[in-house]
Symmetry: C2
Subunit: 209 residues, 2 copies
Amino acid sequence: MRMAELSSRSGVTVATIKFYQRENLLPSGVRTGPNQALYGDAHLGRIRLILGLTEVGGLTVAAARRVLEAIDSELPLPETFEIAQHSVSEAVDPTTVTTDALSHVDALMQGWHVSDDNPGRLAAARVFDTFTGIGQVDAAGWFRRYAAAALLAAEADIDELDARIERAAKAEIVVVGTVLGDTLFSGLRRAAQEHLSSLRYAAPPASEL
Amino acid sequence: MRMAELSSRSGVTVATIKFYQRENLLPSGVRTGPNQALYGDAHLGRIRLILGLTEVGGLTVAAARRVLEAIDSELPLPETFEIAQHSVSEAVDPTTVTTDALSHVDALMQGWHVSDDNPGRLAAARVFDTFTGIGQVDAAGWFRRYAAAALLAAEADIDELDARIERAAKAEIVVVGTVLGDTLFSGLRRAAQEHLSSLRYAAPPASEL
DNA sequence: TGTTACCGATAGTTAGAATATCCGATAAAA
DNA sequence: TTTTATCGGATATTCTAACTATCGGTAACA
């Protein structure tokens, strides 16, 4: 297909497709002349992946480029994993989190094998600092229960990865799972919140909360 | 304290504090003259909350204003909950998700009491569409297991809410839990991923994945 | 053979989030 | 009691990300 069809089938304007090509998110088509090129289903799938990473997963174009490069590369999976992890949220400066927050977070992850500069560990510690910085207290084990939920999700991630054979499929699922997993979880959590609050506060006579 | 001290204690520049005041995120100080004002600890805490919502939780300034207004208001809690939910991610146009995705997501939430236009339900369906749209298959129950994890987290959210007595504290924990819960979960999940992958792929001789 | 579509390069737009500058006070230090 | 530094409020400017529009020179199609 040519540019116009790629645009209409993907639902993305020609100008934006060109932008993605300039930004090296999308490879060029197969040139058939000095100013003509053909595109295939791979391009269409790539555009869908780009949209998933940016619009659904919330990645910036720069972050999307990094993870797409990691998928395309022949890097070992752990490196791809790490690139995906670093792309889903910007780095937290380790000096901005308190040691108290870090030790609380480390207590949640007791028995876990996590390196000190794991970006998730720092992000969790920053949440702890924010929570306590506004005068809140974890009265009902909120942090601990989130750690249990996160462990469940991470097990699902790893099993899904194990279900893939080819390196390309593994790399894609690592990236997609890491990026879209956050979005999926937050959506399902919002639905579960509505479910549980309607259960618990089901209104015999519209009870005020 | 006056502006300079509020700035240095919060770590935010005077210009930015003025910006927050203009944007109605932060109330004015107590005027002591036509061009003088005093600020208290409430202002400091409010700035910390703003920073938590925007920098840690990733809200835009406009979204932060909406949830802060909800906290300040005397709205019933369910309304505050809904405002918080709608602020953590922009609305998904219901016509952009397939009915197939919706039915799959509804199957995950079987027995849950969730309205059709719950934003989380639509967001989860969009993740499903993205996943299948790039040719991936849920080979190991990834979606179902995420639903279980989300239910755990939502239970923790509700219990944490129940542990508060005052309406103001409840409203704040609803907002903070909704906004920071996503960030906390994604951080802990990243740490858990490192833990589990090091467990499963622990390298006797640096085994390639 | 003329209109439409194409490629690639360059320039312009829009929105969000600050930053900077000015202005007439006022308060604090010398 | 003068400086001298700050203050609050209003307005204007900057910066970045993500597009979007235009242009010059072909190619394909009716």
